[in-house]
């Protein structure tokens, strides 16, 4: 009766899982039920560790970015603890891999809140997950700080107000796209432009749309708009179409790997005009296009690892890992610093509701690796945070900053 035994064991496991299902009894329990939840008022006593968590993709296609964020977050936590912690209490960080999957993210978020009693969470910089998590965070009342640039992750489209428990710590894709659109028009004198974007990636489409809107409003003609999907690697068909329309510039806002392929293939096909990009053209873009000289390329640059604010982080990453840092290292670091700022100001840092309202109202000129960050309480996005416009030198060794645009 081995099979019966196995079956019984499995059923027992299931029953144990359901046994925790006590009396709440409410028949419709939406994600993160509103009734049964209490904000995580700490069961930890005075002086115990303060717990925060991260939800990042460290095993699927965005693993490189996710792992970099984890590293940056850990570095910030260590730095804070070395300097005495949060008013004498140690900060503890728990990392969960979410595979880039919204289901996993929701489950892991609930786990951080219910089981680990985290008081704030660093989220993954993936917009679709941000959008899925926003209502959950509102139910569970544990704030999420992250770099999902899609404005819908921070703004509730129906009510037009900010989702209450979620924050963006870098300029949104609208702001970034408009910044480089402005640069294209004002400084690069672009008269005709083509767009090549990733139609399967919200990050890309949410750059392409505001860029197009902005340049068209300034009288620039969009002569072609082509797309590819994330899993495709050959864009020559699309590029040939684009090049035949002879645009002054091609705007390519995708992820680093695709940007590199698009750049290489465009140059291979003989396009010598301008190529304009979003914020994923810093390292490792330069290594990925090795063999193709980098010229006539202008892109958004959030994190200047050579700047005074950020150099320590970049150098530390390089000596620890041997490779150049991704911008996500800074994002991870910054998110933790913003959370820590609120924790330090809180009367009860285990009360996630209080922590949330402090993130909302008291994130003013918080010192991060990206400079001082101030979060606008009405939008839950940073105000006055700008982006650089940058370019590489021909050999792809050094980035020079050309301009700075603030929103």
């Amino acid at each position: 009766m081995k099979k019966r035994g196995l079956l019984a064991a499995l059923l027992a496991v299931i029953m144990i899982l359901t046994a925790g299902c006590s009396s709440e009894g409410k028949s419709s329990t939406p994600v993160g039920s509103q009734n049964s939840n209490a904000p995580s008022i700490g069961k930890t006593s005075e002086g115990g560790d303060i717990i925060i968590g991260t939800l990042l993709d460290t095993s699927a296609s965005m693993a490189a970015a996710g792992k970099a964020t984890v590293w940056g977050a850990d570095y910030a936590v260590k730095e804070i603890n070395d300097a005495g912690g949060i008013n004498g209490r140690k900060l503890k960080i728990i990392h969960y891999d979410v595979k880039g999957d919204p289901n996993e993210s929701i489950t892991a978020y609930n786990r951080l809140v219910d089981q680990d009693k985290a008081v704030a969470v660093v989220g993954p910089g993936l917009s679709n997950i941000g959008i899925a998590l926003a209502p959950v965070a509102e139910d569970k009342k544990v704030p999420i700080v992250s770099h999902f640039m899609d404005e819908r992750a921070t703004t509730n489209e129906k009510t037009k107000a900010a989702w209450k428990y979620i924050y963006l710590a870098e300029p949104s894709c609208n702001q970034q796209a408009e910044a480089i659109a402005a640069y294209s028009v004002e400084k690069l004198n672009v008269k005709t432009v083509a767009i090549l974007y990733d139609s399967s990636n919200a990050y890309s489409t949410t750059h392409a749309i505001p860029y197009q809107k902005y340049v068209e409003s300034k009288g620039v003609k969009v002569v072609a708009s082509e797309s590819f999907t994330s899993d495709a690697k050959d864009y020559k068909a699309q590029l040939t179409k684009i090049i035949s329309t002879k645009p002054d510039a091609i705007f390519v806002p995708a992820y680093a790997q695709q940007n590199a392929l698009a750049y290489k293939q465009a140059r291979e096909l003989g396009y010598t005009g301008l190529i304009i990009g979003n914020n994923t053209y810093s390292a490792p873009f330069n290594t990925l296009v090795q063999g193709t000289p980098i010229s006539n390329l202008f892109f958004i640059y959030n994190v200047d690892f050579q700047s005074a604010n950020t150099k320590f982080l970049g150098d530390a990453y390089k000596s620890a890992n041997g490779t150049d840092p991704l911008p996500n290292v800074a994002f991870g670091y910054d998110n933790v610093k913003i959370i820590a700022n609120a924790l330090k100001l809180a009367k009860n840092p285990n009360d996630s509701v209080e922590v949330n309202s402090l993130i909302e109202t008291k994130t003013t000129a918080v010192k991060t690796s990206s400079g001082p960050i101030t979060i606008d309480p009405t939008t839950h996005r940073p105000s006055g945070m700008g982006v650089f416009i940058a370019k590489w030198d021909e050999s792809g060794k050094k980035i020079s900053l050309l301009d700075y645009y603030k929103s």
Partner: protein, 294 residues
């Protein structure tokens, strides 16, 4: 819409097709000998791409040496894949569907192991050619694409030679028809099958480094094996030359559809195309296909 534009797009289509063909050859080999779709081939391609990076990017060997070494790595991996995913299924005489499912899982496994070790950054293989393109007036041909096409044809010819003209190939064909009878005839069926995986792995090794060189190296590059699957079917399951033709056709059709209708809707159109094609000509381009029972 001038002639140069059309010719360039045709070349683009053939370039894509050449890449697919490289994948399809290894895939079709397993299908024709072992009668199942080996999605683990994608895992082999991914690992080989990293091997290619190691040889060409880290050790800085020249391209030819790197390709050969990657082929060796691929061959060994092919045997490993057989060992972990298929050997036991053969012992149990499981229906071919199990091989398929096992192969998908093995592919996922390989790619995720890569993510563990290499998932912190992106890698690129140093370019094989200092001047990447051949320019004929306004028509651009990428040297790497042309090389892929040539390599693919050479490999195809070599594999066809082995299958049709050597005694080993005879053993392969015998086992593909009926593994049990082949055993009765005194052949070591198991060894023959493992040898098939060795060759398929070698093909994956070559595919991997070329794909890595063309498209930069990442753990999930092997997911392109789905194109190899489509190409093999269009070409006629079980026919290796057919799979190459199928791959080229697929590449060209993709480019035509992208040019005419835009890339977003192209998968839907490919679906319709595949449906019509399979209904009208199920034996594929080559006209040869493996018979299901009656």
């Amino acid at each position: 819409m001038n002639v140069t534009f059309l010719i360039q797009q045709l070349i683009n289509g053939l370039s894509r097709g050449a890449v697919y063909a490289l994948i399809a050859v290894g895939f079709a080999l397993i299908f024709s000998v072992l009668k199942f779709s080996n999605f683990g081939h994608g895992g082999l391609i991914s690992v080989s791409a990293f091997a290619g990076y190691f040889f060409a990017g880290v050790l800085k060997f020249n391209p030819v040496v790197s390709v050969i070494l990657s082929a060796v790595v691929g061959a060994l991996l092919g045997v490993l894949l057989d060992f972990i995913a298929f050997k036991n299924l053969r012992k149990h005489k499981s229906p071919s569907i199990y091989y398929f499912v096992s192969s998908i899982t093995a592919g996922i496994l390989f790619m995720n192991v890569l993510t563990i070790f290499f998932g912190t950054t992106f890698y690129s293989i140093p370019p094989f050619f200092s001047q990447p393109t051949i320019n004929l007036g306004n028509i651009i041909i990428a040297k790497l694409d042309a090389t892929i096409f040539i390599v693919c044809s050479v490999l195809l010819a070599a594999v066809m030679l082995v299958i049709n003209k050597t005694s080993l190939g005879l053993a392969l064909r015998a086992v593909s028809m009926d593994a049990d009878t082949a055993k009765l005839m005194g052949m070591n069926s198991n060894a023959v099958v493992t040898f098939t995986f060795l060759i398929a792995g070698m093909l994956a090794g070559v595919s991997g480094i070329f794909l890595g060189a063309n498209f930069t190296v990442d753990p999930f590059i092997g997911n392109m094996v789905a194109k190899g699957f489509i190409a093999s079917v269009v070409g006629g399951l079980g026919s290796l030359p057919g799979s190459i033709a199928g791959a080229l056709m697929l590449g060209v059709i993709e480019v035509i559809l992208t040019t005419a209708c835009g890339d977003i809707i192209t998968p839907a159109l490919i679906f319709v195309f595949m449906l019509i094609f399979l209904l009208i000509r199920p034996q594929g381009i080559s006209g040869k296909f493996i018979q299901e029972k009656a």
